[in-house]
Every structure is written in structure tokens, then in C-alpha cells.
Amino acid sequence: MSALVVLEGLTKRFGSLVAVDGISLTVEKGEVVGFLGPNGAGKSTTMKMAAGFLEPDEGSAKICSFDVSLEPRAAKLHIGYMPEGAPSYGEMTPLSFLRFIAEVRGLKGAAARNAIDETIARTELEGVVYQTIETLSKGFKRRVGLAQSILHDPDVLILDEPTDGLDPNQKHHVRSLISDMAKEKAIVVSTHILEEVDAVCSRAVIIDRGRIVADGTSRDLKFRLPHHNAVTIRLSTKDADAARTALASVEGVAKIEVLGRGKNLTRLRALPTSRRSIATDVAEALKKKKLQPEELFVEQGNLDDVFREITTSDTGSADA
């Protein structure tokens, strides 16, 4: 079976607040799923239930076909989980901490030593293994948390905001670590940094107010944007009117917007009907009229726009 994570109708209530409202999700081996959503959307709560820290009020979470609530030990053996903020024992050194984790994970002797060495090398902790964790920088602490979660080479990796608060180099390092492991694992990563989804995730799941509001590849999601595949051109202002008429005649152009008009240059955007590709037709039409644009490019839209589009279009505001 390749579906390593199966969430079915997961629901969690805190008093009257429904934090997670019937989330169903399947993650296969080789997938990196990015959990996106505003703060308080239920990302962390969902991950806590999948990792076996919280009991769901309804629904079930299965990891490698073990129900997390019914067979917690078997399920937890297959999970590597890094809680938000990567907590670890401050008075320990990374080495003693990883030894403790190895022991609890049932790794012994040479197997434990190899796993620890390999993990330390992977997370580049070599320089700090004898320092206490509380004295380490945030980036190192995060790596210790990550090391703990991958030590036993789990089938399922659940990482709650693994790059939050890291500098760009550290972020890059964590992302490449995740990408390296992606092939043989099912990985779920929560984030609110949308560029991360493009960088590491094969699929994005957007959660808002405890529900999944979008699920697809980053390309699928961008396809939802009205200006996906729109063509933006920049040309000299004196040609602008001619260009507009030319564009209007192109089949598939729904609307033409003037994005900016300067003394010399003007920017126009042609929005396609139903997000079809119009770039070649637009270029043809301009060429026919002997109009030379300075610049012509096809817009993809970015995930930030998708995110805003999806998570704010409903009425009311998200609960904190």
C-alpha cells in the first residue's frame, strides 16, 4: 500500500470552537504535502492528531495502516514528528538527546550509533554535538528538532513549520533536506511561507477554519486565479491605443487592463477567458500591426494571490 497517511473526517473541538472540521486527506509515498492556511486555521491541530498527540473527537488518522488512536505505539514507530517550535531538552547536548531518542525508538548498539552519526551529518550538527541545546542558536535548535524526527528513518514525516524563523540559508538547507528525503517517505509540512510550497512540495493543501478549501499541485492552484495565463506587455505610450484595439480583436481575450501609463511606456494586461493560453495569439496580433512591445510575458499568478483569494472569499473572519 502506498498511501502512508490516511486522515478520515478528522474533527477536533475545543469547547465551542471547532478547530478542525472533518479533514480527510491521503498522502502517498513520495509526496510532500504542504499544509497552508492562516494562523488558527487548524494546521497544527490536524498535525497533532496525525502524530498521536491529540485524540480526534471524530474521524480517524491512520499511519502505515495503523490507527493512531487504537494502536498508538505501532503508529508512532512509523512517524517522525517535529512539533511547532522544535522543542527539545535544553540541558542536554544534541548527542545525548539523540541517544535518548534512539533508545526510546528501539535502536541499539551499532544501529543506534550509525543512525545518530548519519543524522548528525545530515542535519550538519557536527560542530555543536557537545554543547547544551539551550546555548544553541535558533537555527541549530531547529536542526536538533529535525534530527530527532528523522533519526529512525520513519516512513511518515510530519513537520510543523520547520523553517519558521530561520534565515534564508538555513531555510534553504532545511528545504533541501526535505527534498532529499521526499522519494522514500510521505512528508507533511505546514507553513505559511508560500514560496516554500513551490520550493519543496509536490502538493498543496489549503486549510481555512478547520476545513480543506483547496487541494492540488501549486500549478493547479494557480490555475484558479483570474489572471492566470494573462499576458502583460510593455510598449511605448504612443502605440498603446493601437495595441489595445489589436488585442481586443484577439480571440480569447476577455478584458484589457491598463496597468500603468507613463510618459514613454505603458503597461497593458490582457486577461484570457477561462484561463486559456493566449500568448501566441497576442504576439501574432501585435506583429501584424507592426507593434514592437518592449516586453511581453505570461503571468502565472503566485500562491500568495491564490491564498488570499481562497481564504478570504468566505464571509466572516477566521477564528484565532
Binding site: K48, F53, L77, I79, P83, G90, E91, F100, I101
Partner: protein, 244 residues
């Protein structure tokens, strides 16, 4: 078993990871000495036994054991490592027992460090060493009961100070419940069976039996069941309140 031992080792190392452990041990040894020699009039009595030494142990434990127990769970909560611990393949019961064992080993170290007084009294006279051994065991059991209480309270809060104060208060109730002052309050208006139940819950009265050298099976059952009960409560507390 492996998990319990892994937890216990980690906790024990955590105790000695800070200077507080050494300070605690020093204070414990110093105070047992102070109580035995000054308040317990060890020399003036002219008897070769350790009664004055052991007599004050429950009262010392009242303050010192909650100090040992308070960080066991409250610190996990405060640091957020509770989430880590509870998502490792460890059951709450294993974690509870492991932590208890760590604390209890620490208290054993504290007691072992007081043993020079045992040596001294053997130099000075011919004490009944059987009674002394029984008293050490009894003292250790009292410490275990207080530790189990303290660990349970620690699991209910993320504030170590609160854990300390509340568990000291509860331990105090279990100490004084056998004293005449408390029993006088109840006598006369509650049935005898209730007041004798209250007094039988007293850690102190069971301890007094032991330090007199009367090692009754019922006393052992009392201590064992107190520890088991509180550790059970501890497990429930961890399980129910882990995410709060």
C-alpha cells in the same frame, strides 16, 4: 521496560545537569544532621540509636521532596517537550514510572549520603542496626509516597512554584492526619471508623511503627498502595491534560 529505563536515565541526568541537584543534596545532608544533633539532642540522650535522626525525616521531606518532584512534568509542559515525549512510542504510564524512578533514585542518593551518621553511632556504641536498616527503608518509602504525590501535582500545571506549594500542602495533610490535634477535631462528631480511617492514612503513624523497629506487612502495603494510587492518578493526569 526499556522505555521506562530510558526515561529514568534521562531524568536522572537532567537532575545532575544543573547545580541545583548538588545544592539539594548538601542541604539535605546538612539539615538531617542539624535536626539529629541540635533539635533531636543526639548526644544528650546518651543512647546509641538514630531515633532523633529519623524522627524528623518526614518533616524534611515535606519541603524537599516536592522540590525534587516539581520539575518532573511541569518543566515538560513549560518547555513544550510534552508534545515530543507523548509522540514518541512511549505510553504515558511508562513515562510516569520512569520519571518516578529517577526521582526515587535521586532520593536514594540523598539518603546514602547521610550514612556517615550510621557509621558514627556504631563507633560510639552498639546500636540495633536492624532498627536502623528498617528506619532507612521506612524513610525511603515515605519519600517515595511524597514523590508520587508531587509528580502528580506537577503534571497538572506548567508552573513549578505552584506544583511545589500544592504538593507540599497535600503532603502536609498526609503527615498530620495521624496527629492528635487533627484527630481531636474529628473525634466526637464523626463515626469512629471515619476518624480511624483518617489516622490510618497518616504517613507519620506508619513511619513511627517502622522506626521503632516494628516492620509490619500492613505498613509496607500502605506505602506501596499510596505510591501505586498516586502514580495511577499521575498517569491519568498526564493523559487527560497533556495538551492543555
Amino acid at each position: 521496560m526499556r522505555n521506562i529505563w530510558a526515561i529514568a536515565k534521562r531524568e536522572l541526568r537532567a537532575y545532575f545537569g544543573t547545580p541545583i541537584a548538588y545544592v539539594f543534596l548538601a542541604i539535605f545532608v546538612a539539615l538531617t544532621g542539624v535536626f539529629a544533633f541540635f533539635i533531636g539532642t543526639f548526644f544528650e540522650r546518651g543512647e546509641a540509636d538514630l531515633r532523633p535522626f529519623f524522627e524528623y525525616h518526614p518533616w524534611l521531606y515535606l519541603l524537599l521532596v516536592p522540590a525534587i518532584a516539581m520539575r518532573l512534568w511541569a518543566e515538560e509542559r513549560r518547555a513544550g517537550t510534552m508534545e515530543l515525549l507523548m509522540t514518541l512510542p512511549i505510553s504515558p504510564a511508562q513515562a510516569v514510572i520512569g520519571k518516578f524512578i529517577a526521582g526515587w533514585i535521586f532520593l536514594a542518593i540523598a539518603l546514602v549520603l547521610t550514612m556517615p551518621i550510621w557509621y558514627s553511632v556504631n563507633k560510639l556504641g552498639n546500636p540495633d542496626n536492624g532498627v536502623i536498616i528498617a528506619s532507612y527503608i521506612g524513610s525511603y518509602l515515605v519519600a517515595g509516597v511524597f514523590l508520587a504525590i508531587g509528580a502528580t501535582i506537577s503534571a497538572l500545571t506548567k508552573n513549578q512554584v505552584i506544583a511545589f506549594v500544592v504538593s507540599a500542602a497535600i503532603c502536609f495533610l498526609f503527615v498530620v492526619s495521624g496527629t492528635q490535634i487533627v484527630l481531636n477535631v474529628f473525634q466526637g462528631w464523626v463515626p469512629d471508623i471515619v476518624s480511624s480511617a483518617i489516622s490510618s492514612l497518616s504517613v507519620l503513624s506508619h513511619y513511627e511503627n517502622v522506626t521503632r523497629g516494628v516492620f509490619d506487612f500492613r505498613d509496607i502495603v500502605f506505602y506501596a498502595s499510596m505510591v501505586v494510587f498516586w502514580l495511577f492518578a499521575n498517569t491519568v493526569a498526564v493523559h487527560l491534560k497533556k495538551a492543555d
